[in-house]
Amino acid sequence: MPKDHGIGASSKRREDVRFLTGQGQYTDDINLAGQAHVHFLRSDVAHGRIRGIDTAAAEAMPGVVRIFTGKDFEGIGSIPCGWQITDRQGNPMQEPAHPVLAQGKVRHVGDPICAVVAESRAQARDAAEAIELDIEALPAVIDMKAALQEGAPKVHDDLKDNLCYDWGFVEDNREAVDKAIREAAHVTTLELVNNRLVANPMEPRVAVGDYASHSGESTLYTTSQNPHVIRLLMGAFVLGIPEHKLRVVAPDVGGGFGTKIFHYAEEAFCTFAAKELRRPVKWTSTRSEAFMSDAHGRDHVTKIELALDAENNFTALRTETHANMGAYLSTFAPSVPTWLHGTLMAGNYRTPLIYVNVKAVFTNTVPVDAYRGAGRPEATYQLERVIDKAARELGVDPMELRRQNFITEFPYATPVAVEYDTGDYNATLDRLKELADVAGFEARRVASKAKGRLRGFGMNCYIEACGIAPSNLVGQLGARAGLYESATVRVNATGGLVVMTGSHSHGQGHETTFAQVIAEMIGIGEDQVEIVHGDTARTPMGMGTYGSRSEARPWSVRPRRSSTRRGRSRPT
């Protein structure tokens, strides 16, 4: 009998009532008394030197409150990167400054140059058109390999070159991998592009900054997957606001897909300007602006080589990937092509030797960061494509080539630092062949051909690491903050529970599923459990939602807390 209550029950999502009846409370629904609006004047060239900005005419336009430029942010911190990669020589990655508003140069189309604050959005936009910009367009680098050539235009004049890092994993395997490939019975080589894309969530980004003069507290309302991360990055690194004087609220969020993890210039600007002007400042991105200012995804160019012995056993795998960072380092960008990608290169297969080389490159393009799976789909795509190509070259069944090389004994330590505790890939493949009626495919293909249609067959295997943690490990890998999670359970004097969680829901349905778990653990009705998230003032600690972590991390905290009915959880 299906359950009608608690874990595993199929219940309607409680949050959908407000979403479907137009009662959701999104950041753009927040309008504060006395609020002003900002419009960002953005670069329309990919690379240029700012020779002059004349705002005199624009300042005289109706409704203009103030126009900010890079000069206003000279003493202000740089937008930080949250992950440091160490290169093959043991040196830290090259890390450029990332000002809130461009200083000296613009480095990608969409790089914000001026921020016009006015009484209305339309007035701000009108005034922005009256700003006289004198920008000398410079040669731009878009292609990663061209960016690494001697004499290529430099995205950042103060860096050595356009190479962010040259990463080897596992560096100690390098020579053995090279040797195995030289001596292999067969080597299949594939070059492929994992194209850049725009996350494009339904709700564009919005930020509302507010400042309370009486208490000296700043509040930022923002479209974020992780308000606590924004509090940390913006408070500690950009604006220098102590944690207890900064509240970040991420209410209902209309889709994230990764691009709402990161800390953006517009958030820092609205928080900063609200204090400067002593009035709330709001920014709502347009769809067109989102394409130029939300961090993009993927953009890898890869050469992958798979070595096999005479019996078609995989003996070694070598990859060389160029990963586009864009013009600046977005919050988690360096981790995506490295730890989130290299560690997945073994896939489901028993390949004894693996070496992954990644060159991260600065170009005059919109920054690239984590997007849906972030590095892991890229790894799987390369690996599965090269296996298919090998099967074609060797004239063997691609499914059976996979099966022959499956890991069958667990636990299994891959040569790329991950241990698989359990699995049965043969059973999964058998079931797949049955469900997809692989045996009947040839007959279906012939039948289609008779009707003038082409029928194809493709399959691939996939293994993914989720819930990036614990803090101790990610710290060793270069994360600049712990990736813990927390929850507080409060028993109300009037009955019922409130669970305050640091993870954030932007489509996942946490309010329903978390309540199911708590209700079952405590033994009360789901309607007695209220889930609170998305406000640093109500949940003191947390790290938010990304990398499929909300189940792996907070779940492991919450049931334990609930079953012991004790106080606040400790970071793990």
């Binding site: 339309a122 936009r125 009108d126 067109s288």
Partner: protein, 263 residues
């Protein structure tokens, strides 16, 4: 969007008068104009909405012709064409955009805009339609004059489009998946004056007729008649979605499919 005035006359004559003002612009279903305004690509001082003028609405059958009001929406047109057994037009109208677009967008607006990737110009050209305005009648062959250019004068309004219903017709659209606009669209028609093949989405100068295919089909209406023909790639659009050679190939494929469908 920049600030503008808006008028919503209920009489055609009032709309014509309102459009005489400096900086005035007619607003049909707004499916192109409103997005352009939002992006600040257009800055009319005054919009004259045609949506309240009854005499440019509706679709009627008059003898062998279907008469479509300039303000009739794609949704209405699809239903009326279906009922009239006008297969090519029904296929075309029901494939434009999505339901929201089809409930707002109009044939008059689309023809007046003459987007090189719009669907209707190919139908108008292939059927030998007549565009009736507030002041004259214009044959489709004279109406389309290049990218976004038509024979319409300043302030001239399309009142109705008189379309001789072909004996057989089909519209084959190879849609660009994001915009649903045709990468190549081909309208084929068997008319009293012979076979007609009009192509949209492909020409650098907008919609055009493929005379070689028309001749072959006039001799015998069958997919085999055009099987060996290939359209030259000269003069075809090259953009991010396809090369001229790719579009030329699609013209052949879509034509053959259309003829087979309308057989």
């Amino acid at each position: 969007m920049y600030a503008f005035e808006i008028e919503r006359p209920t009489e055609l004559s009032a709309a014509v008068a309102a459009l005489k003002d400096e900086g005035a612009q007619a607003l049909g279903g707004g499916q192109t104009l409103i997005p352009s305004l939002k992006q600040r690509l257009a800055m009319p001082e005054k919009l004259v909405s045609l949506s309240a003028i009854d005499e440019i609405k509706g679709v009627t059958r008059e003898g062998d012709a279907l008469v479509v009001g300039g303000g009739a929406t794609h949704g209405e047109i699809a239903a009326a064409a279906e009922e009239a057994g006008f297969r090519g037009l029904a296929m075309m109208a029901r494939q434009i955009g999505d339901p929201a677009v089809r409930n707002r967008g109009t044939m008059g607006g689309s023809l007046a805009n003459n987007d090189p990737s719009a669907c209707y110009p190919s139908m108008a050209l292939a059927t030998g339609a007549t565009i009736v305005t507030d002041r004259r009648e214009i044959a489709a062959a004279d109406f389309f004059q290049g990218l976004f250019a038509t024979a319409l004068e300043e302030g001239e309004i399309i009142v109705r489009i008189r379309i001789p219903v072909p004996a057989a017709s089909s519209y084959q659209k190879f849609a660009q998946p994001a915009s649903r606009f045709p990468l190549v669209g081909v309208f084929v028609a068997r008319t009293g004056e012979g076979a007609r093949v009009a192509v949209t989405g492909a020409g650098e100068d907008g919609v055009f007729r493929w005379s070689e295919a028309e001749e072959a089909l006039s001799a015998g209406w069958s997919a085999e008649a055009v099987a060996g023909l290939s359209h030259p790639s000269e003069g075809l659009i090259s953009d991010l979605h396809g090369t001229p050679a790719y579009r030329a190939h699609l013209i052949g494929v879509m034509t053959r499919r259309g003829v087979a469908d309308a057989a």
